[in-house]
């Protein structure tokens, strides 16, 4: 079918058509936005109610918290924990056991070894492990060596050390041994 309208009128008609389409779409979009906004209103009101409720609950918990701030229960629990820690820590310190062990090992060498000093230090001097320093006099190098070997063979002692310079000289030898041990 031939279009008999003049070219200018056809152009105007096309423009009007697209304008209508755009206006219709704008109306639809506006309607959609308004429906969306309306549907958000119940959510808004519900959220407001929830907020009021949660704020009230938080206030109650805060009041309870403030009421317990002056309470000594937590402090008491902390102090008891510290007490127990200290009691358990001190349980491992045993100077007499170590000195007694040296004395036992000494008995077989008592004739050749004279011990004149025991120094026990839980902090261990330069190192961090407890140490026992045993000083005295040995009749000879070989008797001192035998005593050191006895101490080394003892499973209680993990390390037995003495300065090699102690072996200098003849006759009586002044020695100083440093012992590390199992707690």
């Amino acid at each position: 079918m031939a279009n008999v309208l003049p070219k200018k009128d056809r152009e105007t008609l096309r423009k009007n058509y697209w304008l209508r389409v755009v206006v219709t779409l704008a109306c639809m979009f506006t309607a959609a936005m308004l429906i969306g906004t309306t549907s958000l209103i119940p959510s808004y009101l519900s959220a407001r109610t929830d907020l009021a409720e949660v704020t009230r609950y938080e206030g109650l918990q805060g009041d309870a918290q403030n009421a317990t701030d002056g309470d000594s229960a937590t402090e008491t629990a902390r102090v008891v924990n510290a007490q127990i820690d200290q009691l358990l820590k001190d349980r491992n310190v045993n100077a007499s056991g170590v000195i007694q062990q040296v004395m036992r090992d000494w008995t077989t060498h008592a004739e050749d070894i004279i011990i004149s000093d025991f120094s026990y230090d839980v902090a261990g001097g330069d190192s961090s492990v407890p140490q026992l320093r045993v000083s005295g006099e040995a009749r000879s190098r070989s008797t001192l060596n035998a005593f050191v070997q006895t101490l080394k063979a003892d499973p209680v002692f993990t390390k037995v050390s003495f300065p090699v310079s102690d072996l200098a000289g003849s006759g009586n030898i002044v020695f100083s041994l440093v012992l590390e041990f199992k707690l």
Binding site: L34, L51, V54, Q83
Partner: protein, 186 residues
Amino acid sequence: MVAKRKKIGRNTLLVSLAVVGVVAVISSTLLYSFAFIKVRGIITQVANTSEEAQLLAKKNTHIQTVRRVVRDTQPEREKIDAYFLTDDEIVSFLEEVEGLGTHVGVEVTVQAVSVGKPIDKDERITPLNLVLKSEGSLEKIFYLLTLLEDFPKAMSVQEVQFSQQPDEGIWVGNFDIVVLKIEKAK
């Protein structure tokens, strides 16, 4: 002439409709965005407040539990407290330590007493440092050491030195010990 006027009038109507449409789109978009942001803000606020409230509730529950435990363990705590000195017991404790020497048969003298820094967060447990000296046979001094170690207090022997006097042959024992002292709750 009439046709031209009619045409102008139609154009004006269409342009007006287009302007109204644009304004409606912009204003409805702004309205929706405002409502959406508002709702989202409140929901976020609800979530945050709820989380804080939950934390507080958990903390309160924890405190309630601690309070119950503290109440239920009263006898046990008293037993533990008995291992720690109080300010009132220091003098009697020193006398007891000196009494150990009498029991062993050596003289024990308290050379020095000092208070260290508190070792706990609440500053209620404080070490009391003692330096003791005694003279006698090695057996007796050793026995004294075992008694000190077994003393029913939170006491630890930090340093011990037994040394024999070259001329007299007697042994001198020096003991550095730490006893823990507790401040009573206010």
